[in-house]
Symmetry: C2
Subunit: 159 residues, 2 copies
DNA sequence: TATTGTTATACTCTATAACTATA
DNA sequence: TATAGTTATAGAGTATAACAATA
């Protein structure tokens, strides 16, 4: 716990809530779709993992099962996700994006990409490289047990 | 909006919610104090800005006035903050930390510092420097209208 | 007995609209 | 009329505990 780690901790605690709010507010108020960050991440995950279950999602989002169930309730109510019976295990629920969900994700996704890119373009490209590198480093320490994503998958996230 | 900005946007959107959750969960479950991030930030602000009003706080946290009022309700109910009449303007509320609030902040603060520092120490110090630099850059673009803090103030945040 | 998911309950965070009191 | 704050209302996110159904 040297001085640099403390300085770093301070900077993280200053910047992260600020970014979270900026991103969340933007996603709730632009792009005509009005998704929260967890909703957005859910749709993203379901697009990448067809046939995922509630448990799969809970593991990915790192939130409790009942919370996920409620999150899905909301998306089902908005017609973006379907709950389907699992082929062989009748305890499981298979989740699927609807067409509405697919379009909502696409729109929200473009809006988020545009917003974040615009904000980040205010930085010189060398700083942007620093930010990208820092984000990868942070992700590795804050989610150390996540298996590395298959090549190509990550690159699709905001494509 | 070049490729680097998009790559960067992707990385931010991957890493920021993850960190937010990790920090929030830790603050809610450790250190014996159980503060949410907004509560923590509120106490921090009140320690640095004695005599602040609800509006001052709303501006700093970038949330709506009624939300702040409720946030303060919660902290008052827990005995951490006092609402006091303003000396000259009877519309205003002057907020003050109680002794309980001061101690809660101190404890939560040490726990947060310890947790974040521990996590960040898993990075080589060169990466930590990158992270610190990135956080400063991000703060500048996500809160571009904030006046720069007076020298010394920032350094106290986690002291 | 263990796993998957839901319901019940209870917080916190956040917003907008409508209101009160004061300036 | 404009500002500071509160109350009312509403929806999202999250958790734990208790439960049902299935394996």
């Amino acid at each position: 716990m040297d001085a640099s780690a403390m300085e770093c901790a301070r900077a993280v605690l200053d910047a992260v809530p600020l970014m979270m709010r900026a991103i969340g507010t933007h996603m709730r108020t632009h792009g005509g779709v009005n998704l929260s960050i967890p909703q957005f991440r859910t749709l993203l995950f379901l697009r990448q993992h067809e046939g995922a279950s509630i448990s799969n999602l809970a593991e990915h989002l790192e939130i409790a099962l009942p919370s996920v169930s409620k999150l899905i309730d909301g998306l089902v109510a908005r017609g973006m996700v379907r709950r389907q019976p699992h082929a062989t295990d009748r305890r499981r629920v298979t989740l699927a994006l609807t067409t509405v969900g697919r379009h909502a994700l696409q729109a929200s996704h473009e809006a988020a990409q545009h917003y974040l890119s615009t904000v980040l373009t205010r930085l010189p490209s060398s700083e942007r490289a620093t930010v990208a590198q820092a984000m990868r480093a942070l992700q590795s320490v804050f989610a150390p047990d996540r298996e590395p994503q298959p090549a190509g998958t990550r690159a699709e996230v905001l494509t």
